[in-house]
Symmetry: C2
Subunit: 392 residues, 2 copies
Amino acid sequence: MAQKSLERSEPNYFGAGPAVLPTDVLQQAAYDLLSYEGDSVGIGEISHRSKPAIKVIDDTKANLTQLLNIPDTHEVFFMQGGGTTGFSSIVYNLIASNVKKTGKPGRAAYAVTGSWSKKSAEEAVRLGFDVDIVVNTKDKKFGDIPPYNEWKPLAADTAYLYVCDNETVNGTEFKSTPPADYLHEGVELVADMSSNILSKKVDVSKYGLIMAGAQKNIGLAGLTIYIIKKSLLEQANDEELKAANVPLVPIAFHYPTVVKNNSAYNTIPIFTCHILQLVTKRLIDNGGIDAIQKLNEKKAEILYGALTSYPGFYTLPVHNPAVRSNMNVVFTLPNEELEAKFVKEAASKGLSALKGHRSVGGMRASIYNAVSLHSVELLVDFVNEFAKQNAS
Amino acid sequence: MAQKSLERSEPNYFGAGPAVLPTDVLQQAAYDLLSYEGDSVGIGEISHRSKPAIKVIDDTKANLTQLLNIPDTHEVFFMQGGGTTGFSSIVYNLIASNVKKTGKPGRAAYAVTGSWSKKSAEEAVRLGFDVDIVVNTKDKKFGDIPPYNEWKPLAADTAYLYVCDNETVNGTEFKSTPPADYLHEGVELVADMSSNILSKKVDVSKYGLIMAGAQKNIGLAGLTIYIIKKSLLEQANDEELKAANVPLVPIAFHYPTVVKNNSAYNTIPIFTCHILQLVTKRLIDNGGIDAIQKLNEKKAEILYGALTSYPGFYTLPVHNPAVRSNMNVVFTLPNEELEAKFVKEAASKGLSALKGHRSVGGMRASIYNAVSLHSVELLVDFVNEFAKQNAS
């Protein structure tokens, strides 16, 4: 069992998250776990308020700022707890900002286009906030994103519109932001980018808030990135919120407190942040967002290309090619026996973690940043070969 | 900068947390970060719902159960977010349990014996719950824990009594639990053991809930251990809570949901859990709690012994020896110049992170499980030497 080397063969691993990370990043992190910058303690063993730890946090923020071209109007911070904590914390915090701005809680609008946006909307409802579902594609099995002119118009007192930019389970991805005639002045756009952060260019200035778990494209589980418009850090205080009958946010995810404490109000998992720092540094060194976006588009193109070459054999539940995810490629086969055979034969060739999410079945190939073009080419070869041998 | 070996010299590091971990644990974790059990992906890269990940969670729970002799009446689970998330989540959840049991929210009692219990009590008050402070040692600069017969009696409708078992900043530690004539039938005892978990024997059956961040004695930052009496997982539902005018717990830290999903309702940081697994396995292999408690008592004894040998020179702010922490040894010198000199000279001998918490000043030597007896002996030698050279 005990491995004694930091070498490994290329992982051809298509899991939906946590997902593969670059081997050279993990090797550096492994050394740093034991000894950081020549010291006899590792990066996970030092105080989160020590100089080296603060530098890790600051450098990671600087890397993200550079990669995503984050404007001065916005602030980056980190929290624990994944997307689920985001679902709760977003509604508490943004409504508290809206009370500050307008004197009233206002309404939260949600686009329900898959499992994750559905969960987020449900949590906002459960916590007692006023929620409008402006689009819900559940009846279409979350297989499309309708054009904005088909969405329910936003109420005048809407504080924010929430979208899940890439639905990991269902395989849809937004390719545009709402136009000005839909998202009227004063409504903040909020996006969960947990499964496509840093995979493509994003115009951060259009968003009030971006939330993204690290564990798919850019890191280990345990840290979530938030990019917030600084004006939204102005919130009504606790007394004002009580007067407005708005529930208070728990202190651990009160955004202004987290920002004021440079993401270390509670003990930030500094080893996890260090991995994020190494991954983002590597992205910068390898050509930034433009380069990785081009590569991701190429990977998606050849995989969707192969799958659509056998229309009676492979079926894409996301019928509309314009909203197919470049990260999570979801497909089915004519029957469950063939699907089981596909997964098994793929695994025998070292292509692993291709089973779809337990809630929807079928297959899913997640081709995040760290999945190489070569891995995807091997999968494409197998997709072709399997169709040729099994299509009747 | 780039280190290329997994060897290191013994860290003589006395930081209060995150803190040192056993070198052999970190070495194994470093290998497993790249490749877990011979696979070409590491333990941080696989799904939190995969078999190997579930095994890591289950094995860690089993190790904790064995080490702490956790009875069948209790359940272990993990959450992200550290003690701060605990401060909020404890009051939400335990009051929801009390509404189920009694039909009413009832009151929460807090013993404020240091910085951390103070923060926890403040959060319960802020969130709008009914709180009684039954003891507050702030006026004594948190330098003592008064006997139970001096505490304010518990109100009849008290749901739980909260204590911080070891105050990291102030250096006090509870050496007993409240007697039956104080903690009357039906009141649950809740303890924050973030800085002394697994350092000594604990009678878990006496507690309704134990909460402990991993990053001091047993792991990296990013995971918190909860040990809860199973009956407390019976909570009033959301409608009942609204009727009782009790705020709802955010879903990410709703204990029954977390337990039902084996601590993976959100994506558990599985690498961090794996380290916890390795540390607890190592404790078992090295003789369990009895052995580590004996070692910790020896370490504390020789260090307090040295400090008290120079009564005019070293001062212990915790005057009462009976409540001095075996984990965080706090002391001061006659003036700030000597304190700065102490820290500097200690560092030149490789004894690091001895500065006290920024809120109280002075010095603090944290001698958690992974700080070796040899490290403490080196510190004792220095304490003696420094006194001899500088005491006038």
